[in-house]
Symmetry: C2
Subunit: 326 residues, 2 copies
Protein backbone atom coordinates (compact mmCIF):
# COMPACT_ATOMS: atom_id res chain seq x y z
CA UNK A 1 0.00 0.00 0.00
CA UNK A 2 1.36 3.42 -0.89
CA UNK A 3 0.99 5.77 2.01
CA UNK A 4 -0.19 9.29 1.19
CA UNK A 5 -0.21 12.50 3.10
CA UNK A 6 -4.01 12.20 3.23
CA UNK A 7 -3.72 8.89 5.11
CA UNK A 8 -1.16 10.40 7.40
CA UNK A 9 -3.19 13.47 8.23
CA UNK A 10 -6.52 11.68 8.71
CA UNK A 11 -7.83 12.69 12.07
CA UNK A 12 -5.07 15.22 12.64
CA UNK A 13 -7.49 18.13 12.96
CA UNK A 14 -8.33 19.61 16.31
CA UNK A 15 -11.90 18.33 15.90
CA UNK A 16 -10.64 14.76 16.13
CA UNK A 17 -8.76 15.50 19.30
CA UNK A 18 -10.07 14.27 22.62
CA UNK A 19 -8.33 15.80 25.63
CA UNK A 20 -5.88 13.43 27.18
CA UNK A 21 -6.69 12.58 30.79
CA UNK A 22 -4.57 14.23 33.42
CA UNK A 23 -3.32 17.11 31.26
CA UNK A 24 -2.60 19.92 33.69
CA UNK A 25 -4.22 23.31 33.14
CA UNK A 26 -1.44 25.66 32.00
CA UNK A 27 -0.80 29.31 31.66
CA UNK A 28 -0.36 29.91 27.94
CA UNK A 29 3.16 30.90 26.80
CA UNK A 30 2.91 33.44 23.95
CA UNK A 31 4.77 32.89 20.70
CA UNK A 32 8.13 34.67 20.71
CA UNK A 33 7.75 36.14 17.22
CA UNK A 34 11.43 36.88 16.65
CA UNK A 35 14.16 35.11 14.71
CA UNK A 36 17.55 34.29 16.22
CA UNK A 37 20.22 36.92 15.53
CA UNK A 38 21.66 35.45 12.36
CA UNK A 39 25.38 35.13 12.80
CA UNK A 40 27.53 31.99 12.60
CA UNK A 41 31.10 31.44 13.67
CA UNK A 42 33.82 29.07 12.46
CA UNK A 43 37.57 28.71 12.55
CA UNK A 44 39.80 28.80 9.49
CA UNK A 45 43.28 27.89 10.68
CA UNK A 46 43.89 30.32 13.53
CA UNK A 47 41.46 32.88 12.09
CA UNK A 48 37.99 33.30 13.57
CA UNK A 49 35.35 33.96 10.91
CA UNK A 50 31.86 35.23 11.66
CA UNK A 51 29.23 35.21 8.92
CA UNK A 52 26.84 38.03 9.86
CA UNK A 53 23.79 38.44 7.70
CA UNK A 54 22.20 41.71 6.68
CA UNK A 55 18.91 39.85 6.01
CA UNK A 56 17.11 39.50 2.71
CA UNK A 57 14.98 41.35 0.18
CA UNK A 58 12.00 39.80 -1.61
CA UNK A 59 10.51 41.28 -4.78
CA UNK A 60 8.35 40.18 -7.70
CA UNK A 61 10.29 38.22 -10.31
CA UNK A 62 10.81 40.62 -13.22
CA UNK A 63 10.78 39.44 -16.81
CA UNK A 64 14.39 40.42 -17.40
CA UNK A 65 15.74 39.20 -14.06
CA UNK A 66 17.65 36.60 -16.01
CA UNK A 67 18.50 38.41 -19.22
CA UNK A 68 18.93 35.44 -21.53
CA UNK A 69 16.20 33.12 -20.24
CA UNK A 70 12.39 33.34 -20.18
CA UNK A 71 10.69 33.93 -16.85
CA UNK A 72 9.01 30.52 -17.16
CA UNK A 73 12.45 28.88 -17.04
CA UNK A 74 13.36 30.84 -13.93
CA UNK A 75 10.11 29.74 -12.31
CA UNK A 76 10.95 26.12 -13.13
CA UNK A 77 14.30 26.47 -11.37
CA UNK A 78 12.64 28.11 -8.37
CA UNK A 79 10.13 25.28 -8.12
CA UNK A 80 12.84 22.65 -8.44
CA UNK A 81 14.51 24.29 -5.44
CA UNK A 82 11.26 24.40 -3.44
CA UNK A 83 11.26 28.19 -3.66
CA UNK A 84 8.09 30.20 -4.39
CA UNK A 85 7.28 31.02 -8.03
CA UNK A 86 7.15 34.59 -9.34
CA UNK A 87 9.28 36.10 -6.61
CA UNK A 88 12.93 36.41 -5.77
CA UNK A 89 14.49 36.57 -2.35
CA UNK A 90 18.07 37.77 -2.32
CA UNK A 91 20.09 37.34 0.86
CA UNK A 92 23.14 39.34 1.95
CA UNK A 93 25.85 37.89 4.16
CA UNK A 94 28.98 39.92 4.91
CA UNK A 95 31.71 38.23 6.94
CA UNK A 96 34.07 39.32 9.67
CA UNK A 97 37.58 37.89 9.85
CA UNK A 98 39.53 38.15 13.08
CA UNK A 99 43.04 37.18 12.00
CA UNK A 100 44.37 37.39 15.54
CA UNK A 101 45.95 40.76 14.81
CA UNK A 102 43.38 42.49 12.61
CA UNK A 103 39.59 42.63 12.74
CA UNK A 104 38.40 42.80 9.14
CA UNK A 105 34.89 43.21 7.72
CA UNK A 106 34.25 42.05 4.15
CA UNK A 107 31.34 43.93 2.52
CA UNK A 108 28.62 45.58 4.58
CA UNK A 109 25.07 44.85 3.36
CA UNK A 110 22.43 47.52 2.92
CA UNK A 111 22.99 48.70 6.45
CA UNK A 112 20.71 50.12 9.09
CA UNK A 113 19.08 52.80 6.93
CA UNK A 114 17.04 49.91 5.45
CA UNK A 115 15.92 48.36 8.75
CA UNK A 116 12.74 50.39 9.11
CA UNK A 117 11.96 50.62 5.39
CA UNK A 118 12.16 46.85 4.99
CA UNK A 119 10.23 46.05 8.17
CA UNK A 120 13.36 44.51 9.64
CA UNK A 121 13.90 42.13 6.72
CA UNK A 122 17.23 43.69 5.78
CA UNK A 123 19.61 46.25 7.15
CA UNK A 124 20.38 43.87 10.03
CA UNK A 125 24.17 43.80 9.62
CA UNK A 126 25.08 46.23 12.39
CA UNK A 127 22.61 44.81 14.92
CA UNK A 128 23.67 41.25 14.13
CA UNK A 129 27.31 42.33 14.52
CA UNK A 130 26.48 43.61 18.00
CA UNK A 131 24.66 40.35 18.82
CA UNK A 132 27.80 38.52 17.68
CA UNK A 133 29.86 40.46 20.23
CA UNK A 134 31.66 42.55 17.64
CA UNK A 135 32.03 46.28 18.29
CA UNK A 136 32.12 48.32 15.07
CA UNK A 137 34.55 50.71 16.70
CA UNK A 138 37.18 47.98 16.98
CA UNK A 139 37.13 47.03 13.28
CA UNK A 140 40.55 47.68 11.73
CA UNK A 141 39.68 47.31 8.06
CA UNK A 142 36.65 47.01 5.80
CA UNK A 143 37.33 45.28 2.50
CA UNK A 144 34.82 46.11 -0.25
CA UNK A 145 34.42 43.72 -3.18
CA UNK A 146 32.50 46.07 -5.47
CA UNK A 147 30.32 49.17 -5.31
CA UNK A 148 26.73 47.90 -5.47
CA UNK A 149 24.55 49.29 -2.68
CA UNK A 150 24.10 45.95 -0.89
CA UNK A 151 27.87 45.84 -0.40
CA UNK A 152 28.71 49.47 0.48
CA UNK A 153 25.67 51.08 2.10
CA UNK A 154 26.41 49.44 5.46
CA UNK A 155 29.58 51.57 5.62
CA UNK A 156 27.25 54.21 7.06
CA UNK A 157 25.02 54.38 10.13
CA UNK A 158 21.29 55.03 9.79
CA UNK A 159 21.97 58.77 9.97
CA UNK A 160 24.68 58.67 7.33
CA UNK A 161 27.78 58.76 9.53
CA UNK A 162 30.85 56.49 9.14
CA UNK A 163 29.88 53.18 10.78
CA UNK A 164 33.44 51.84 11.14
CA UNK A 165 35.01 54.97 12.50
CA UNK A 166 38.45 53.52 13.19
CA UNK A 167 38.75 51.30 10.12
CA UNK A 168 40.69 51.67 6.94
CA UNK A 169 38.25 51.31 4.02
CA UNK A 170 39.83 49.21 1.28
CA UNK A 171 38.34 49.33 -2.22
CA UNK A 172 39.38 47.76 -5.54
CA UNK A 173 41.28 50.38 -7.56
CA UNK A 174 39.52 49.61 -10.88
CA UNK A 175 36.14 49.77 -9.16
CA UNK A 176 36.96 53.18 -7.70
CA UNK A 177 38.17 54.42 -11.08
CA UNK A 178 35.06 53.22 -12.90
CA UNK A 179 32.34 54.48 -10.57
CA UNK A 180 33.88 57.84 -9.69
CA UNK A 181 34.42 58.74 -13.34
CA UNK A 182 31.83 61.41 -14.12
CA UNK A 183 32.01 60.56 -17.82
CA UNK A 184 30.90 56.98 -17.06
CA UNK A 185 28.01 58.33 -15.01
CA UNK A 186 26.90 60.75 -17.71
CA UNK A 187 27.01 58.01 -20.37
CA UNK A 188 25.04 55.56 -18.21
CA UNK A 189 21.33 55.02 -18.99
CA UNK A 190 19.02 56.94 -16.65
CA UNK A 191 17.96 53.76 -14.85
CA UNK A 192 21.60 53.08 -13.95
CA UNK A 193 22.45 56.59 -12.73
CA UNK A 194 21.25 56.10 -9.10
CA UNK A 195 23.98 53.47 -8.59
CA UNK A 196 26.65 56.04 -9.52
CA UNK A 197 25.01 58.64 -7.30
CA UNK A 198 24.89 56.16 -4.41
CA UNK A 199 28.65 55.59 -4.71
CA UNK A 200 29.19 59.36 -4.40
CA UNK A 201 26.79 59.56 -1.45
CA UNK A 202 28.38 56.73 0.55
CA UNK A 203 32.04 57.54 -0.01
CA UNK A 204 31.32 61.26 0.21
CA UNK A 205 30.05 60.67 3.75
CA UNK A 206 33.46 59.09 4.46
CA UNK A 207 35.22 62.15 3.04
CA UNK A 208 36.36 59.84 0.21
CA UNK A 209 38.95 58.50 2.65
CA UNK A 210 39.61 55.09 1.13
CA UNK A 211 42.66 52.99 0.33
CA UNK A 212 42.59 51.60 -3.20
CA UNK A 213 44.03 48.11 -3.63
CA UNK A 214 45.11 46.37 -6.79
CA UNK A 215 43.26 43.07 -7.51
CA UNK A 216 45.64 40.13 -7.16
CA UNK A 217 47.48 41.58 -4.21
CA UNK A 218 47.23 40.99 -0.47
CA UNK A 219 44.69 43.34 1.04
CA UNK A 220 45.46 42.56 4.67
CA UNK A 221 47.78 39.76 5.83
CA UNK A 222 45.94 36.51 5.08
CA UNK A 223 43.35 38.05 2.75
CA UNK A 224 44.19 38.29 -0.92
CA UNK A 225 42.06 39.77 -3.66
CA UNK A 226 41.40 38.07 -6.99
CA UNK A 227 40.30 40.00 -10.07
CA UNK A 228 36.90 38.55 -11.00
CA UNK A 229 35.58 41.37 -13.15
CA UNK A 230 32.32 41.16 -15.05
CA UNK A 231 29.58 41.53 -12.46
CA UNK A 232 30.99 45.07 -12.17
CA UNK A 233 34.06 46.41 -13.98
CA UNK A 234 36.28 46.16 -10.90
CA UNK A 235 34.58 43.32 -8.98
CA UNK A 236 36.94 41.18 -6.88
CA UNK A 237 36.67 37.93 -4.99
CA UNK A 238 38.96 37.06 -2.09
CA UNK A 239 40.94 34.19 -0.68
CA UNK A 240 41.39 33.90 3.06
CA UNK A 241 44.27 31.73 4.24
CA UNK A 242 45.59 30.77 7.66
CA UNK A 243 48.17 28.04 8.09
CA UNK A 244 47.20 25.20 5.76
CA UNK A 245 43.53 26.23 5.68
CA UNK A 246 42.08 28.47 3.05
CA UNK A 247 38.77 29.45 1.55
CA UNK A 248 37.45 31.35 -1.41
CA UNK A 249 35.07 34.24 -0.83
CA UNK A 250 32.99 34.43 -4.01
CA UNK A 251 31.45 37.85 -3.38
CA UNK A 252 29.10 38.33 -6.39
CA UNK A 253 30.50 35.74 -8.80
CA UNK A 254 26.95 34.38 -8.67
CA UNK A 255 23.74 35.31 -6.99
CA UNK A 256 21.47 32.59 -5.49
CA UNK A 257 23.07 29.20 -6.11
CA UNK A 258 19.72 27.50 -6.81
CA UNK A 259 19.47 29.59 -9.99
CA UNK A 260 22.94 30.70 -10.95
CA UNK A 261 25.19 27.86 -9.84
CA UNK A 262 22.68 25.41 -11.26
CA UNK A 263 22.73 27.41 -14.51
CA UNK A 264 26.13 29.09 -14.90
CA UNK A 265 25.13 30.35 -18.34
CA UNK A 266 22.28 32.45 -16.97
CA UNK A 267 22.91 36.19 -17.08
CA UNK A 268 21.69 38.08 -14.03
CA UNK A 269 20.28 41.54 -14.75
CA UNK A 270 22.82 43.05 -12.34
CA UNK A 271 25.82 41.59 -14.22
CA UNK A 272 27.16 44.67 -16.00
CA UNK A 273 29.25 42.67 -18.50
CA UNK A 274 27.33 39.41 -18.53
CA UNK A 275 29.59 37.52 -20.94
CA UNK A 276 32.68 38.41 -18.94
CA UNK A 277 30.88 37.55 -15.70
CA UNK A 278 29.98 34.11 -17.07
CA UNK A 279 33.51 33.36 -18.28
CA UNK A 280 34.92 34.52 -14.93
CA UNK A 281 32.55 32.41 -12.87
CA UNK A 282 33.11 29.25 -14.91
CA UNK A 283 36.89 29.63 -14.59
CA UNK A 284 36.74 30.30 -10.85
CA UNK A 285 34.24 27.58 -9.99
CA UNK A 286 36.12 24.97 -12.03
CA UNK A 287 39.16 25.83 -9.92
CA UNK A 288 37.20 25.72 -6.67
CA UNK A 289 35.65 22.35 -7.59
CA UNK A 290 38.99 20.83 -8.63
CA UNK A 291 40.62 21.90 -5.37
CA UNK A 292 37.52 21.19 -3.23
CA UNK A 293 38.03 24.60 -1.65
CA UNK A 294 35.71 25.83 1.03
CA UNK A 295 33.68 28.80 -0.22
CA UNK A 296 31.83 31.64 1.41
CA UNK A 297 29.15 33.24 -0.78
CA UNK A 298 27.57 36.63 -0.30
CA UNK A 299 24.16 35.76 -1.79
CA UNK A 300 24.06 32.11 -0.72
CA UNK A 301 21.66 30.89 1.98
CA UNK A 302 22.99 31.91 5.41
CA UNK A 303 25.51 31.01 6.77
CA UNK A 304 26.58 30.71 3.13
CA UNK A 305 29.59 28.50 3.77
CA UNK A 306 30.25 25.21 2.02
CA UNK A 307 31.62 23.54 -1.06
CA UNK A 308 30.73 23.72 -4.72
CA UNK A 309 30.16 20.51 -6.62
CA UNK A 310 29.96 19.93 -10.34
CA UNK A 311 26.70 18.53 -11.73
CA UNK A 312 25.79 17.34 -15.24
CA UNK A 313 24.62 20.80 -16.23
CA UNK A 314 26.35 23.22 -13.87
CA UNK A 315 27.24 23.40 -10.21
CA UNK A 316 25.59 22.85 -6.86
CA UNK A 317 26.23 24.43 -3.45
CA UNK A 318 26.77 21.90 -0.63
CA UNK A 319 26.55 23.77 2.67
CA UNK A 320 28.93 22.86 5.49
CA UNK A 321 26.88 21.34 8.31
CA UNK A 322 26.21 23.83 11.13
CA UNK A 323 28.45 23.26 14.14
CA UNK A 324 26.82 24.20 17.45
CA UNK A 325 30.19 24.81 19.10
CA UNK A 326 33.56 26.10 17.84
CA UNK B 1 44.83 28.55 -18.75
CA UNK B 2 43.45 26.52 -15.91
CA UNK B 3 43.63 28.42 -12.67
CA UNK B 4 44.75 26.47 -9.62
CA UNK B 5 44.63 27.18 -5.93
CA UNK B 6 48.40 27.51 -6.05
CA UNK B 7 48.12 30.39 -8.54
CA UNK B 8 45.43 31.95 -6.41
CA UNK B 9 47.36 31.75 -3.18
CA UNK B 10 50.71 32.89 -4.62
CA UNK B 11 51.90 35.71 -2.47
CA UNK B 12 49.05 35.34 0.00
CA UNK B 13 51.40 34.69 2.93
CA UNK B 14 52.16 37.36 5.47
CA UNK B 15 55.74 37.49 4.17
CA UNK B 16 54.51 38.94 0.90
CA UNK B 17 52.53 41.60 2.68
CA UNK B 18 53.77 45.17 2.78
CA UNK B 19 51.87 47.42 5.18
CA UNK B 20 49.46 49.66 3.36
CA UNK B 21 50.21 53.33 3.87
CA UNK B 22 47.94 55.17 6.22
CA UNK B 23 46.66 52.14 8.11
CA UNK B 24 45.74 53.47 11.54
CA UNK B 25 47.27 51.87 14.62
CA UNK B 26 44.46 49.89 16.28
CA UNK B 27 43.69 48.33 19.58
CA UNK B 28 43.41 44.62 18.90
CA UNK B 29 39.95 43.07 19.31
CA UNK B 30 40.23 39.54 20.73
CA UNK B 31 38.50 36.62 19.03
CA UNK B 32 35.10 35.94 20.58
CA UNK B 33 35.56 32.15 20.79
CA UNK B 34 31.89 31.28 21.15
CA UNK B 35 29.27 30.00 18.72
CA UNK B 36 25.85 31.60 18.34
CA UNK B 37 23.15 30.00 20.47
CA UNK B 38 21.87 27.48 17.95
CA UNK B 39 18.14 27.90 17.64
CA UNK B 40 16.07 28.73 14.56
CA UNK B 41 12.49 29.83 14.27
CA UNK B 42 9.87 29.44 11.54
CA UNK B 43 6.13 29.54 11.11
CA UNK B 44 4.02 26.58 10.06
CA UNK B 45 0.52 27.92 9.48
CA UNK B 46 -0.25 29.76 12.72
CA UNK B 47 2.18 27.60 14.72
CA UNK B 48 5.57 28.91 15.74
CA UNK B 49 8.28 26.26 15.55
CA UNK B 50 11.70 26.62 17.13
CA UNK B 51 14.44 24.13 16.27
CA UNK B 52 16.72 24.11 19.33
CA UNK B 53 19.84 22.03 19.09
CA UNK B 54 21.39 19.98 21.87
CA UNK B 55 24.72 20.07 20.02
CA UNK B 56 26.67 17.13 18.63
CA UNK B 57 28.83 14.18 19.58
CA UNK B 58 31.91 13.11 17.62
CA UNK B 59 33.48 9.67 17.99
CA UNK B 60 35.79 7.34 16.04
CA UNK B 61 34.00 5.51 13.23
CA UNK B 62 33.52 1.94 14.48
CA UNK B 63 33.71 -1.04 12.15
CA UNK B 64 30.10 -2.01 12.74
CA UNK B 65 28.66 1.51 12.70
CA UNK B 66 26.88 0.53 9.51
CA UNK B 67 26.11 -3.12 10.09
CA UNK B 68 25.84 -4.28 6.49
CA UNK B 69 28.58 -2.21 4.86
CA UNK B 70 32.38 -2.13 5.21
CA UNK B 71 33.94 0.85 6.97
CA UNK B 72 35.71 1.75 3.72
CA UNK B 73 32.31 2.33 2.10
CA UNK B 74 31.24 4.56 4.96
CA UNK B 75 34.47 6.54 4.60
CA UNK B 76 33.75 6.98 0.89
CA UNK B 77 30.33 8.43 1.69
CA UNK B 78 31.84 10.73 4.31
CA UNK B 79 34.41 12.00 1.82
CA UNK B 80 31.77 12.53 -0.85
CA UNK B 81 29.95 14.73 1.65
CA UNK B 82 33.12 16.67 2.56
CA UNK B 83 33.05 15.17 6.05
CA UNK B 84 36.19 13.87 7.80
CA UNK B 85 37.09 10.19 7.36
CA UNK B 86 37.18 7.75 10.26
CA UNK B 87 34.93 9.73 12.54
CA UNK B 88 31.23 10.33 12.98
CA UNK B 89 29.55 13.45 14.23
CA UNK B 90 25.94 12.98 15.26
CA UNK B 91 23.81 16.06 15.85
CA UNK B 92 20.68 16.32 17.99
CA UNK B 93 17.92 18.82 17.29
CA UNK B 94 14.72 18.74 19.35
CA UNK B 95 11.97 21.17 18.34
CA UNK B 96 9.47 23.30 20.22
CA UNK B 97 6.00 23.86 18.80
CA UNK B 98 3.92 26.76 20.08
CA UNK B 99 0.47 25.98 18.67
CA UNK B 100 -1.00 29.20 20.02
CA UNK B 101 -2.63 27.31 22.86
CA UNK B 102 -0.01 24.73 23.84
CA UNK B 103 3.75 24.91 24.17
CA UNK B 104 5.08 21.51 23.14
CA UNK B 105 8.62 20.12 23.17
CA UNK B 106 9.43 17.17 20.88
CA UNK B 107 12.35 15.08 22.21
CA UNK B 108 14.95 16.52 24.56
CA UNK B 109 18.56 15.71 23.59
CA UNK B 110 21.15 14.46 26.05
CA UNK B 111 20.41 17.36 28.34
CA UNK B 112 22.58 19.41 30.66
CA UNK B 113 24.20 16.50 32.50
CA UNK B 114 26.37 16.15 29.36
CA UNK B 115 27.41 19.79 29.06
CA UNK B 116 30.52 19.54 31.20
CA UNK B 117 31.42 15.98 30.19
CA UNK B 118 31.33 16.88 26.50
CA UNK B 119 33.17 20.19 26.89
CA UNK B 120 30.02 22.03 25.82
CA UNK B 121 29.65 20.08 22.59
CA UNK B 122 26.32 18.57 23.61
CA UNK B 123 23.83 18.93 26.41
CA UNK B 124 23.03 22.44 25.11
CA UNK B 125 19.26 21.97 24.77
CA UNK B 126 18.19 23.72 27.97
CA UNK B 127 20.60 26.64 27.58
CA UNK B 128 19.65 27.10 23.92
CA UNK B 129 15.97 26.99 24.96
CA UNK B 130 16.64 29.84 27.37
CA UNK B 131 18.51 31.78 24.65
CA UNK B 132 15.46 31.26 22.43
CA UNK B 133 13.27 32.93 25.04
CA UNK B 134 11.51 29.72 26.06
CA UNK B 135 11.02 29.06 29.77
CA UNK B 136 11.00 25.34 30.58
CA UNK B 137 8.45 25.98 33.29
CA UNK B 138 5.88 27.12 30.73
CA UNK B 139 6.10 23.97 28.58
CA UNK B 140 2.71 22.21 28.54
CA UNK B 141 3.72 18.91 26.97
CA UNK B 142 6.85 16.97 26.02
CA UNK B 143 6.34 14.43 23.25
CA UNK B 144 8.91 11.65 23.19
CA UNK B 145 9.48 9.71 19.95
CA UNK B 146 11.42 6.81 21.46
CA UNK B 147 13.51 5.96 24.50
CA UNK B 148 17.15 6.33 23.39
CA UNK B 149 19.18 8.54 25.71
CA UNK B 150 19.66 11.37 23.21
CA UNK B 151 15.87 11.77 23.14
CA UNK B 152 14.91 11.33 26.80
CA UNK B 153 17.85 12.39 28.99
CA UNK B 154 17.02 16.07 28.58
CA UNK B 155 13.81 15.42 30.52
CA UNK B 156 16.01 15.93 33.58
CA UNK B 157 18.11 18.81 34.87
CA UNK B 158 21.84 18.36 35.50
CA UNK B 159 21.06 17.24 39.06
CA UNK B 160 18.46 14.73 37.94
CA UNK B 161 15.27 16.69 38.67
CA UNK B 162 12.27 17.02 36.30
CA UNK B 163 13.27 19.71 33.78
CA UNK B 164 9.74 20.41 32.51
CA UNK B 165 8.04 20.58 35.86
CA UNK B 166 4.61 21.64 34.59
CA UNK B 167 4.48 19.51 31.46
CA UNK B 168 2.64 16.34 30.64
CA UNK B 169 5.21 13.79 29.40
CA UNK B 170 3.78 11.89 26.43
CA UNK B 171 5.38 8.60 25.41
CA UNK B 172 4.51 5.99 22.77
CA UNK B 173 2.61 3.15 24.48
CA UNK B 174 4.52 0.33 22.70
CA UNK B 175 7.84 1.98 23.55
CA UNK B 176 6.86 2.16 27.22
CA UNK B 177 5.74 -1.46 27.20
CA UNK B 178 8.95 -2.67 25.56
CA UNK B 179 11.56 -0.86 27.63
CA UNK B 180 9.90 -1.22 31.03
CA UNK B 181 9.48 -4.99 30.63
CA UNK B 182 12.02 -6.58 32.97
CA UNK B 183 11.99 -9.76 30.89
CA UNK B 184 13.16 -7.79 27.84
CA UNK B 185 15.95 -6.25 29.91
CA UNK B 186 17.10 -9.59 31.29
CA UNK B 187 17.14 -11.15 27.82
CA UNK B 188 19.11 -8.23 26.32
CA UNK B 189 22.85 -8.68 25.71
CA UNK B 190 25.01 -7.08 28.39
CA UNK B 191 26.08 -4.27 26.04
CA UNK B 192 22.43 -3.29 25.58
CA UNK B 193 21.44 -3.36 29.26
CA UNK B 194 22.53 0.24 30.07
CA UNK B 195 19.87 1.56 27.67
CA UNK B 196 17.15 -0.25 29.67
CA UNK B 197 18.65 0.98 32.93
CA UNK B 198 18.73 4.54 31.58
CA UNK B 199 15.00 4.36 30.81
CA UNK B 200 14.35 3.36 34.44
CA UNK B 201 16.64 6.11 35.72
CA UNK B 202 15.05 8.92 33.68
CA UNK B 203 11.39 8.03 34.12
CA UNK B 204 12.01 6.98 37.71
CA UNK B 205 13.16 10.55 38.41
CA UNK B 206 9.78 11.66 37.04
CA UNK B 207 7.99 9.23 39.38
CA UNK B 208 7.01 7.34 36.21
CA UNK B 209 4.38 10.04 35.68
CA UNK B 210 3.86 9.75 31.92
CA UNK B 211 0.89 9.63 29.57
CA UNK B 212 1.12 6.80 27.07
CA UNK B 213 -0.21 7.56 23.59
CA UNK B 214 -1.14 5.13 20.84
CA UNK B 215 0.82 5.64 17.57
CA UNK B 216 -1.49 6.93 14.82
CA UNK B 217 -3.47 9.15 17.15
CA UNK B 218 -3.33 12.87 17.86
CA UNK B 219 -0.91 13.55 20.67
CA UNK B 220 -1.79 17.20 21.15
CA UNK B 221 -4.07 19.20 18.83
CA UNK B 222 -2.14 19.65 15.59
CA UNK B 223 0.50 17.01 16.32
CA UNK B 224 -0.22 13.46 15.27
CA UNK B 225 1.96 10.42 15.82
CA UNK B 226 2.79 7.90 13.11
CA UNK B 227 3.94 4.37 13.90
CA UNK B 228 7.41 4.06 12.35
CA UNK B 229 8.73 1.12 14.33
CA UNK B 230 12.07 -0.52 13.58
CA UNK B 231 14.71 1.86 14.92
CA UNK B 232 13.19 0.90 18.29
CA UNK B 233 10.16 -1.35 18.82
CA UNK B 234 7.84 1.58 19.56
CA UNK B 235 9.53 4.40 17.61
CA UNK B 236 7.16 7.04 16.22
CA UNK B 237 7.44 9.94 13.81
CA UNK B 238 5.08 12.91 13.91
CA UNK B 239 3.11 15.17 11.61
CA UNK B 240 2.54 18.76 12.61
CA UNK B 241 -0.33 20.54 10.86
CA UNK B 242 -1.75 24.05 11.08
CA UNK B 243 -4.27 25.31 8.55
CA UNK B 244 -3.15 24.13 5.13
CA UNK B 245 0.50 23.81 6.21
CA UNK B 246 1.98 20.59 7.48
CA UNK B 247 5.33 18.94 8.00
CA UNK B 248 6.70 15.54 8.81
CA UNK B 249 9.00 15.15 11.81
CA UNK B 250 11.16 12.15 10.98
CA UNK B 251 12.60 11.61 14.48
CA UNK B 252 15.04 8.68 13.99
CA UNK B 253 13.81 7.26 10.69
CA UNK B 254 17.38 7.95 9.59
CA UNK B 255 20.50 9.29 11.16
CA UNK B 256 22.79 11.68 9.19
CA UNK B 257 21.31 12.20 5.73
CA UNK B 258 24.73 12.22 4.01
CA UNK B 259 25.04 8.54 4.91
CA UNK B 260 21.57 7.16 5.50
CA UNK B 261 19.35 9.11 3.13
CA UNK B 262 21.98 8.68 0.42
CA UNK B 263 21.99 4.94 1.20
CA UNK B 264 18.56 3.92 2.52
CA UNK B 265 19.65 0.27 2.56
CA UNK B 266 22.40 0.92 5.11
CA UNK B 267 21.67 -0.47 8.56
CA UNK B 268 22.73 1.78 11.43
CA UNK B 269 24.08 -0.05 14.48
CA UNK B 270 21.42 1.63 16.63
CA UNK B 271 18.53 0.29 14.50
CA UNK B 272 17.16 -2.47 16.74
CA UNK B 273 15.22 -4.19 13.94
CA UNK B 274 17.23 -3.05 10.93
CA UNK B 275 15.11 -4.72 8.25
CA UNK B 276 11.91 -3.22 9.66
CA UNK B 277 13.63 0.16 10.03
CA UNK B 278 14.66 0.06 6.36
CA UNK B 279 11.19 -0.90 5.12
CA UNK B 280 9.63 1.81 7.29
CA UNK B 281 11.99 4.52 6.09
CA UNK B 282 11.58 3.67 2.41
CA UNK B 283 7.78 3.75 2.76
CA UNK B 284 7.77 7.03 4.65
CA UNK B 285 10.32 8.83 2.48
CA UNK B 286 8.58 7.77 -0.73
CA UNK B 287 5.45 9.38 0.69
CA UNK B 288 7.29 12.53 1.76
CA UNK B 289 8.96 12.85 -1.66
CA UNK B 290 5.69 12.30 -3.56
CA UNK B 291 3.91 14.95 -1.51
CA UNK B 292 6.96 17.30 -1.33
CA UNK B 293 6.30 17.59 2.38
CA UNK B 294 8.49 19.76 4.53
CA UNK B 295 10.48 17.62 6.97
CA UNK B 296 12.21 18.23 10.26
CA UNK B 297 14.92 15.68 11.11
CA UNK B 298 16.41 15.01 14.52
CA UNK B 299 19.88 14.00 13.32
CA UNK B 300 20.04 16.28 10.25
CA UNK B 301 22.37 19.28 10.12
CA UNK B 302 20.88 22.12 12.19
CA UNK B 303 18.35 23.64 11.74
CA UNK B 304 17.40 20.30 10.16
CA UNK B 305 14.45 21.57 8.19
CA UNK B 306 13.94 21.04 4.48
CA UNK B 307 12.72 18.68 1.82
CA UNK B 308 13.74 15.21 0.78
CA UNK B 309 14.46 14.53 -2.87
CA UNK B 310 14.80 11.23 -4.67
CA UNK B 311 18.15 10.48 -6.36
CA UNK B 312 19.20 7.61 -8.62
CA UNK B 313 20.34 5.54 -5.67
CA UNK B 314 18.46 6.88 -2.66
CA UNK B 315 17.44 10.25 -1.29
CA UNK B 316 18.97 13.62 -0.60
CA UNK B 317 18.17 16.27 2.03
CA UNK B 318 17.59 19.77 0.60
CA UNK B 319 17.64 22.24 3.49
CA UNK B 320 15.18 25.15 3.53
CA UNK B 321 17.16 28.37 3.13
CA UNK B 322 17.67 30.18 6.46
CA UNK B 323 15.33 33.14 6.87
CA UNK B 324 16.81 35.98 8.93
CA UNK B 325 13.37 37.23 9.95
CA UNK B 326 10.02 35.54 10.62
Amino acid sequence: MKLSRRDLMAGAGAAAFASLPGAPAQAFAPQVGKQNASFYRYKLGSFEITAVTDGSATFPLADGFVKNVAKSEVNKALEAANLPRDQMTIVFTPIVVNTGSKLVVVDTGYGPAMLEKSGGKNGQFHSNLAAAGIDRGTVDAVVISHFHGDHINGLLTADGKPAFANAEILVPAPEWKFWTDDGNMSRAPDAAKPAYQNVRRVFGALGNKVTQYEPGKDVVPGIQSVATHGHTPGHVSLTVASGSDSMFVTCDLTNRPELFLANPGWHLMYDMDAAMAEATRRKMFDMVVADRMRVQGFHYPFPANGRIEKTDTGYRFAPTPWAASL
